[in-house]
């Protein structure tokens, strides 16, 4: 018997007016896998997350989660099914503390009550090493805000977690700390899709990656394989004259 991939997209397409941001995109993510999606700016990486998370509807193709079509479902319903994501530009809920931000994921992603959500959020703060959880989010550093993003997504106890350019805006030390946090998640057997602009991070964290350019897959395989691929080098560095 063949196992059903956790996530599968079939000929996914998204058009913004005259621009085809994602075209004929078919890929799958297996349970427990860590997949990297890389590509230069404007390759369509964030659009793919927005499509899978339900923030924007596809203009063509299908999205299957646990073998079921989900492309017609609203974002909150997909969250209930177990899809969570972070945002490249952090989107903290500003009138809340860090802990309350994380509680939102537990309250609505998993349908916990207030006491349960608080307990879940506290546990997550420990896991991701966020000691200043009782501070309003406008008093937090970029690193802590990114952790709040992860915490809120994690509190929904997702099966599939998209990390959208988690390392953007972090310095070398912070990046190392964040990589350690993601490794913690790996141990929890959450399926993770790491969407990154920085190749080194993908090399460090993922087992397999796909490379997007112009909204479509130009290469896939292990990091070593794609890094040696000519089309990938061309997409990142440009064609030699």
């Amino acid at each position: 018997m063949q196992t059903v991939p956790l996530l599968e997209t079939r000929n996914l397409e998204r058009r913004f007016g005259g621009l085809l941001a994602v075209k004929e995109l078919s890929f799958s993510v297996g349970r427990g896998e860590i997949l990297g999606i890389i590509g230069p700016n404007g390759a369509g990486k964030t659009t793919v997350i927005n499509l899978v998370a339900g923030i924007i509807p596809p203009t063509g193709g299908q999205i299957l989660f646990k073998g079921q079509r989900v492309d017609h479902l609203p974002a909150h319903a997909r969250s209930h099914l177990g899809i969570a994501r972070t945002f490249q530009n952090v989107r903290p809920l500003e009138d809340f503390t860090a802990l309350e931000n994380i509680m939102v994921g537990a309250l609505f992603g998993r349908g916990q009550n207030l006491a349960q959500a608080r307990a879940t959020a506290l546990e997550i703060c420990e896991l991701i090493d966020l000691p200043h959880y009782d501070r309003p989010v406008d008093n937090l550093t970029v690193l802590d805000l990114k952790k709040v993003e992860i915490g809120r997504a994690l509190a929904a106890q997702p099966d599939l977690l998209f990390l959208d350019e988690l390392m953007a805006g972090l310095n070398a030390d912070e990046t190392r700390e964040m990589i350690a946090v993601v490794r913690q998640l790996q141990r929890r057997e959450i399926t993770i899709v790491v969407v990154e602009h920085i190749m080194a991070v993908v090399k460090e964290l993922t087992e397999r990656c796909i490379v997007l350019d112009g909204g479509t897959i130009i290469a896939q395989g292990s990091y070593a394989e794609v890094a040696a691929n000519e089309r990938v080098i061309e997409a990142y560095l440009g064609k030699e004259a």
Partner: protein
């Protein structure tokens, strides 16, 4: 004196007002409680991030439906107040499917337009509603007994305060705050945005309907101009802004302060009091943009008397 003790004293003083205050004071505070309740409902909807201009419209619908039930169907006035609220709630539920797809200024303008639509429809049904000249009911609520009417509106206001406090401690508080802060982040975290917006719109509209129905029964009179008056939108809005939005204490304090100030101004300057009144509102909003309650809380915190009062005020 502790905060709790102060609240209990305020409630006792307000509850016993008919025992020692004359009809003038009762009428002033009766009006204050009407506006306080409306102000709280306006603020509760604002906590979702949606600025509603429909307060007067739902108030008027509650008033008219209650008046019609009493005048045409012989329903008991107290029951008609409940039914008035229900009617406003049902209308809000049905309209919610259309207006809650709109956001920000589009939602605001549409709710304002709906208020006009309600008034126009009622004005154009003269056989049923008395048209532009309105309708006088055979008798006022509690036969016009000022004390009983006062206690009734006081109880209603306490109920609305209770709902607002419950809300700020509930799961719904997290949902609507998340929606106001960042709708996309809220949706991605599993918040069913439409469900919570609809719940809040129906809840606040029902309360506005109940207050409108009480108002109609108390004065035994409804008339399009008076019942759908913009005062039932603008005064509650000003009270919440002056007191401090996204809280229970803000609209309560705002209603008492503006209500008392407005009466006092009327007495000392019968002509022109509205200019001064407007100026006070503008100055408070300009110099205390987070409202009176948070301004005072912050001043107290600065003197080290109350720690974290600003956050406490936010939560209450």
């Amino acid at each position: 004196m502790g905060k709790k003790a102060m609240i209990i004293v305020c409630i006792l003083v307000a509850a016993s007002l008919p025992l020692y205050a004359g009809p003038y004071f009762l009428s002033v505070f009766n009006t204050i409680f009407v506006y306080m309740s409306l102000s709280l409902t306006w603020d509760m909807m604002l906590r979702t991030g949606q600025l509603s201009y429909g307060t007067a419209g739902l108030f008027g619908l509650g008033a008219y439906s209650s008046a019609l039930l009493v005048a045409k169907a012989g329903v008991h006035p107290l029951l008609s107040i409940v039914l008035g609220g229900l009617f406003a709630g049902v209308v809000a539920f049905l309209l919610g499917f259309a207006v809650l797809r709109l956001r920000k200024i589009y939602f605001s303008i549409t709710t304002l337009a709906l208020t006009s639509v309600f008034a126009v429809v009622i004005r154009n049904l003269p056989r049923l509603t008395g048209g532009a000249s309105g309708m006088v009911l055979p008798s006022a609520l509690f036969s016009g007994d000022a004390a009983k009417n006062y206690w009734m509106v006081f109880a209603l206001a306490l109920g609305v305060i209770g709902i607002s406090l419950w809300l700020s401690r509930s799961k719904t508080h997290y949902a609507i705050n998340a929606i106001r802060n960042d709708e996309i982040a809220a949706r991605s975290s599993g918040v069913d945005v439409f469900k919570y917006l609809l719940f809040m719109f129906v809840l606040t509209s029902s309360i506005q309907g109940v207050i409108g129905a009480f108002y109609a029964q108390q004065y035994a009179f409804v008339q399009p101009e008076a019942t759908f008056s913009m005062n039932f939108l603008l005064l509650p809005l000003a009270m919440a802004l002056v007191g401090g939005v996204y809280s229970t204490s803000g609209p309560v304090v705002g209603a008492v302060v503006l209500g008392v100030v407005s009466e006092y101004l009327k007495l000392i300057m019968p002509y022109g009091h509205l200019v001064v009144y407007g100026l006070i509102i503008v100055l408070v909003v300009l110099f205390m943009p987070r409202g009176l309650t948070r301004f005072v809380a912050r001043q107290l915190a600065r003197r080290g008397r109350v720690g974290g009062a600003d956050r406490a005020a936010l939560g209450n």
